[in-house]
Structure formats: structure tokens, C-alpha cells
Amino acid sequence: MSLTTMIIKMSEGLTRTCAIFFLTLIFSLPLGMVVALLRMSKVKIVSAVTRFIITVLRGTPLMLQLLAVTYGPYYLFGATVARNKLIPVVIAFSINYAAYFAEIYRGGIESIPIGQYEAAEVLGYTKVQTFMRIILPQVIKRIMPSVTNEVVTLVKDTSMAFTVSYQEMFTIGKQIANSQTSFTPFLVAGVFYYIFNVIVDYVMGRIEKRLDYYK
């Protein structure tokens, strides 16, 4: 197989890799905030249950969660397995990443001194106003480096989708490697992932700069 064919074939997979990446971010970033708020709930049972769910999601391999989301419904209820594998893959990734993002958000929110809440109360801010206008802008700024970390990891984690036969870039690379008995596809995959992450790094850096509003 010529290098050109190889790159074209793997680029087809790259569009699917991008689909997992962007859809996962779109769903998991807000979902993480919901989970973080539930985790910090004053109602004991809510925070305990959320905490348990987070330990499960962070304590089991993503590969296992992909299998569970894709094939679990079939074995439990006889439901048909989604033909379009993107759906279960994005669901599994979003839930998993939401758990990680939730803990990052929580760390950020809890790092804001309690005095700020008290000051806001004195100034007549409501609870929602305090959170949205005073706390959240600081939190977002503080957690950006940790979020970037997760986003970069997500780029590489997309290769896990091969577990359920979703034909993303690395799956195709593996197929070419074994069909043509050559290691070149792995090199191509490495270059693709690196370029992808350089772009991610640049974009996240720009966002961090934009958020430099307290200096």
C-alpha cells in the first residue's frame, strides 16, 4: 500500500476521531458542572450517591465502560445495538469525562475563599448572582490548566473506540499495520495525534490568555 493511500485511509478515520472529540467536549463540559454541583449538594444522600457514581466512573477502565454502554442494553434488555457506533461511544466518553471534569470544577469552586460569599451577601447579591458573577469567572480561570490536561488526554483516548469496532483513525491504522505487516501506520498515527494536540494546545493557550481578566 502506498503512503498516500495509507494517509487518505487514515484521514477518513481522523474525521471520526474528531467527531468523538468535539461531541464529547460539548456534552461532558456542561454535564461535569451539573455533577459537580450535585456532588457539593447539602443534601447528604445526593452528594453520597454522586460521589459513588464518580468513584465508579473514575475507578473502572474506560474500555470497560465503552463495552458496557454499547453492549449492556442488549444483554440486559435485548435492545438492538446501535448501528451508528458514534452514539454509544460519545455517551460513554461524555459520562466518563464528565466525572473527571466534575472533580476539577469542584476543586476550583472550593478554592474560592468563603469570605467572598460573605462579602457578596453583604453587598446584597443573591446566591445565584454570587455564583454566576463572582465565583464562576474566577473558577474558570483557575481550572483552565487542569481542563487542558484532560482535553489533551481525550485526543489520545479516542483510540479506545476500537474496542467496539468504531472505525476511528487508530483502528484503521491497526488494520493497515496488520494487513500490510508494517509499522508505518503507527508512525502516521503518532504524527496525526501530535499535530491534533499542538492545535488543541494553541487554542487552549489562547483561551487562557483571554481569561487573564484580573491582571
Partner: protein, 265 residues
């Protein structure tokens, strides 16, 4: 008179449209393959799936008027993916195991006699499995070679120093060429095609563990299995099967194809 004939013909056509046969003609048959298993099923030079099993399946679908789709399974999860209707069969150099039959899967007539061999470095001086006592042997995860080393050939495996499982045969061979392992235990056709392309490695002339390849269908699909079996036999009779097998890229496997060699006898 003409009018009556016309009406009758129209009726016949309408009825034939409604019969199951007409529905069957529109059937889409989803073939489950391991896209990493040359020469049975793999990504060809043009980036499309090809291989002996793929070509035979294409011919079968053509003869039955079915549309064919290919689904690349994750070999470790192939039976889960078959069960969950993602493909209609697993047809990809698959070893027939008793455990599959016991689990209720319908298996086609065996079509290939497989043997397992040991591949070593050409200059290593190893001549038989006995020479490998205390040495490190690599095997691919989830292959019949691996189950043989844990089952029928456990005695032989016990003489090895260590058995290393890799997740693809390419990694097994790279470990061998890189000097990390002393031998690779692998299916004969895979070994033959790899040795043909790479210098410095050789196959030990000793057949270990005979087994046969077949096609797996879901437990309820005995009828589908028979249809495919019959269609394959028809291809054997009209020579299409032999024509596919004669191709250069299948030279390593042609001698072990059961349908062709039983005909010769």
C-alpha cells in the same frame, strides 16, 4: 385472450413480488471479519477489504442476489458482536471450537485445515519444539494458538520458559526479530505470508495442533447457515471457488482448502 394473459401475467408478477423469495433477494448480508488476518481478510493495497474469505463471500452474495456489507469485528469480542446483530456471521479464518458449538452457535461445514507452527530466527538453530525448552514463546491473544497452549498443548507449553501474549501477530513477530522472544506460535498461513516478506526468520517444519476453519452464525440461523453452505458448494462445483483460490496471494493456503482437495481425491 391477450387481455386475459396480460392480467394473469400482472397477477403473477404481483404475487411474486409479495413472496418471501422476493424479499430474500433484497436481503443485506453483513459479513463479520477480522480486518487484520491476511490472507483470509485484510485491508488490501487499495484500502478496501479483501482476502480469500471476503472474495468467496462476495461470490456467495452475488449468486444469491444479496447485498453484502462488511463489518470489521473486534476479534476479542466477535461473538458478542455477532449476538448483538452487528453482523450476520463471523467468517474470517475462524477456528471451530467445541466451546462455540456448546454455546449454541451454528457452524458451517469446515472449509480449511489449519495447522499451527513455530517461527524462529533463521540463524537460531532451533529445529523442533523440543529445542525451545526454557525459551520464551510469543502467541497472539485470543487466537486458537493461545487456547491450544492452554489446552491440548499445555504439556509442550510447560517446557517453554515463558509464554508471552501480544495483541497482534505483527507485535509477536517484531518481538521475535528484535530478540525479545525466541519463537512465535502462530497459524500456518499467517506465518507463511510473513516469512515470505521478511528475511532472517524461518518456520520450524513441525505441524502442531490440527484444527479447522468454519463460519459462525447465531444459534437461530441454522437455515441461513445451510443457504450459505449450499451456495459455497455451488461455487465449488462451477469452478468459481477454485478460480479465487488460484490467485497468487492465496498460494500459501490453497493446499489446505478442504473443498478443493477433497474434489481432487
Amino acid at each position: 385472450m391477450k387481455k386475459t394473459v396480460l392480467i394473469l401475467l400482472t397477477l403473477v408478477m404481483m404475487v411474486s413480488l409479495l413472496t418471501p423469495a422476493a424479499f430474500a433477494a433484497d436481503k443485506t448480508f453483513i459479513m463479520g471479519i477480522d480486518p487484520e488476518y491476511p490472507p483470509f481478510s485484510y485491508l488490501g493495497d487499495d484500502g478496501e477489504y479483501t482476502g480469500f474469505d471476503v472474495e468467496v463471500c462476495k461470490a456467495v452474495c452475488d449468486s444469491l442476489g444479496w447485498k453484502m456489507e462488511i463489518f470489521g469485528v473486534n476479534w476479542d469480542e466477535k461473538l458478542v458482536q455477532l449476538d448483538s446483530m452487528e453482523c450476520d456471521c463471523v467468517w474470517s479464518g475462524m477456528t471451530i471450537l467445541d466451546s462455540m458449538k456448546e454455546a449454541g452457535y451454528v457452524i458451517s461445514a469446515p472449509y480449511y485445515d489449519n495447522t499451527q507452527v513455530l517461527v524462529v530466527k533463521a540463524d537460531s538453530g532451533f529445529k523442533s519444539s523440543k529445542d525451545l525448552a526454557g525459551k520464551i514463546v510469543a502467541v497472539q491473544l485470543g487466537t486458537s494458538g493461545e487456547s491450544l497452549l492452554n489446552g491440548d498443548l499445555a504439556d509442550m507449553a510447560a517446557t517453554f520458559g515463558n509464554v508471552l501474549t501480544c495483541d497482534s501477530f505483527l507485535k509477536c513477530f517484531t518481538e521475535l526479530q528484535g530478540g525479545a522472544v525466541d519463537a512465535v506460535f502462530v497459524d500456518m498461513p499467517v506465518a507463511a505470508s510473513y516469512v515470505a516478506k521478511h528475511d532472517g526468520i524461518a518456520i520450524i517444519d513441525e505441524n502442531l495442533g490440527a484444527e479447522q476453519y468454519g463460519i459462525a452464525f447465531r444459534s437461530g440461523d441454522a437455515e441461513l447457515c445451510k443457504t450459505v453452505d449450499d451456495a459455497v458448494q455451488a461455487l465449488v462445483k462451477d469452478g468459481t471457488y477454485a478460480k479465487i483460490a488460484e490467485k497468487e496471494e492465496y498460494a500459501d493456503i490453497v493446499n489446505n482448502l478442504l473443498f478443493l482437495n477433497s474434489e481432487a481425491k
